[in-house]
Amino acid sequence: MMTDKNQVMEQVYTVEAGNFISAGEASGHIKKLLKQLGVDSNIVRRVTIAAYEAEMNMVIHSVGGELILKITPDRIAVVAQDRGPGIPDIDLAMREGYSTAPETARELGFGAGLGLPNIKRCADDLKIQSKMGEGTLLEAYFDIKAR
């Protein structure tokens, strides 16, 4: 973890492809951290759900990557960066119910095609860039409203 002079706190978690033993640990850690920071419980909930979905997406679909949490006093960012294979059609992937999850993941109850739409619903802003063969960069932003 590091905080620079612009008051950005950053935490990086490595996410392994296909590893269901540690899957969910990164988002679980994020939840605990945000609660300790005293972030509003509703925001904590939304960030955690988005982080979990992003983490599971990487476990199921990617060849592996990193989940990064960035916090400033007014904004939280959940960034998921993987090393491939990339999303061929992002619009299609954003559609509720659309899934390319393999049978092994579906057997575990994943792959209902709700991951990305769920992230979109939770986040105040969502950006996705993807290049086939290179990887996907997902950035979900959450405003910490002044209370």
Partner: protein, 439 residues
């Protein structure tokens, strides 16, 4: 009333300063300082886990002595259904009769209170606007756990009073009506399997004031009650609760009484925490009802019971089959709702005691310091420093409750460093001459 009343307290003389309780506390509320455990009042939820695990019985629940019933001209016993599982070969009627022999003028089964609560919840569940899953409010330790660790789920808690409160209110009303006495003259005493209920009486959640006047632990009453039961020649017919009400003592009893298909009943506080995490993460949105009980097996496994919880659970299941109480009629349910306060009158507020600072910028600074200190700690989570884990030790250092040298490994490093310096110093000879002793 204290800001934080707690039934769970420490018997300092018995405390050996070991690590058993600090490691098991679900809200990380205990530290060992100066060789004795200390409970952080604002974090404790009175679940009684520490009472269960302390090998020296240094954690105690403050409850009322049996003699305290003498303060009232008329006394009513409110036995928790968990009491029924404590005695081999005793019928519910024998247990209730035994209670009367101990000096109570009347008994009112909390299981009967549970029968009413069951109906109230059934009605409330018909409201389609209710946040799902609806979370049971039966276990006060779980309600407090939600206040401290899962504030986002407070709105899911069913806003209906506990069977103990309902039983106390009905018992007093009925007793006063029948005997023509004033309510102030009647004391209602809960026979409790747990500490959390005692706390609920002194500082209740959701209501202004409890109608219960005291709590006597099952452990305290076990001996005298046993002696009465074995001497009974005849039982009075006092049992009125339905089999479903009796089964509230066991985990899953409330859920099966509600007759809901899609429910989840979990017991043991760590297990409950794992499921609450899932509910908070919206992973169980299709679930209708969640019953979480802090003690293993449900209230039968409470820290203040005598009998082995699993043995008691089986006994209660068998006794419930013989329970004679019938289902409540529509009129009884509606009438009772008019007669007594049956739902919460106050909002349940969050208690965000785990947060580092009210100001997020300062909290971030503290978090960064915690991470930095944590990186330097051995990561063994041995508890020797008095904090439950290396992580909490780092938090305690930053919050000013501990110092880095409380860590035995850090201390050893420091001693080694100092020893090294001493050797170096000892080898220095005045006058600038240096002798080489090696080889």
């Amino acid at each position: 009333m204290d800001k934080y009343y707690h039934s769970v307290t420490l018997d300092k003389d018995k405390c050996m300063g070991c690590t058993n309780c600090i490691k098991r506390c679900p809200t990380e509320a205990i530290r060992v300082r100066d060789g004795k455990a200390r409970i952080m009042a604002e974090r404790c939820i009175d679940c009684g886990e520490c009472i269960r695990v302390c090998p020296y019985h240094a954690k105690v629940a403050v409850t009322d002595p049996l003699t305290s019933i003498e303060k009232f001209p008329y006394k009513i016993a409110l036995p928790a259904p968990a009491l029924y599982g404590q005695f081999k070969n005793a019928s519910i009627n024998a247990i209730l009769t035994g209670l009367k022999k101990l000096g109570f003028d009347d008994v009112f089964e909390v299981a009967r209170g549970a029968d009413y609560v069951t109906e109230f919840i059934k009605e409330a569940m018909r409201d389609p606007e209710r946040k799902k899953p609806v979370i049971s409010s039966a276990c006060p330790a779980i309600v407090r756990l939600i206040q401290v660790r899962f504030p986002e789920l407070i709105d899911n808690i069913i806003n209906i009073e506990s069977p103990m409160e309902i039983a106390a209110r009905l018992a007093k009303k009925e007793f006063c009506q029948k005997n023509g006495v004033k309510e102030e003259e009647v004391g209602a005493f809960f026979i409790t399997p747990c500490a959390a209920k005692m706390t609920s009486i002194r500082s209740p959640i959701g209501i202004e004031r409890s109608c219960v006047d005291g709590a006597i632990s099952i452990l305290e009453i076990y001996g005298p009650l046993y002696n009465e039961i074995v001497r009974l020649e005849e039982d009075d017919s006092l049992q009125t609760a339905s089999p479903y009400g009796v089964l509230w003592a066991n985990s899953g009893g409330e859920s099966s009484a509600l007759g809901l298909d899609n429910h989840l009943a979990v017991d043991g506080i760590q297990n409950v925490i794992r499921v609450l995490e899932e509910i908070e993460d919206d992973k169980l949105t299709d679930l209708e009802f969640f019953e979480g009980l802090a003690c293993p097996g449900g209230c039968v496994g409470g820290p203040l019971v005598f009998e082995n919880g699993f043995v008691a659970k089986n006994r209660i299941r068998r006794l419930s089959e013989k329970a004679e109480g019938r289902h409540l009629s529509r009129e009884e349910i509606v009438g009772t709702k008019k007669k007594i306060q049956w739902s919460f009158e106050k909002e349940i507020l969050p208690k965000p005691v785990m947060k580092l600072d009210d100001d997020i910028t300062l909290a971030m600074k503290k978090m960064e310091a915690i991470e930095r200190i944590y990186d330097g700690l051995p990561g063994l989570d041995c508890g020797s420093c008095g904090s439950p884990s290396c992580r909490t030790h780092a938090e305690d250092i930053v919050l000013g409750y501990a110092s880095e040298m409380d860590c035995v490994f850090k201390l050893r490093e420091k001693v080694k460093e100092l020893a090294q310096q001493m050797i170096e110093l000892s080898e220095k000879i005045p006058g600038g001459k240096v002798t080489n002793k090696s080889e």
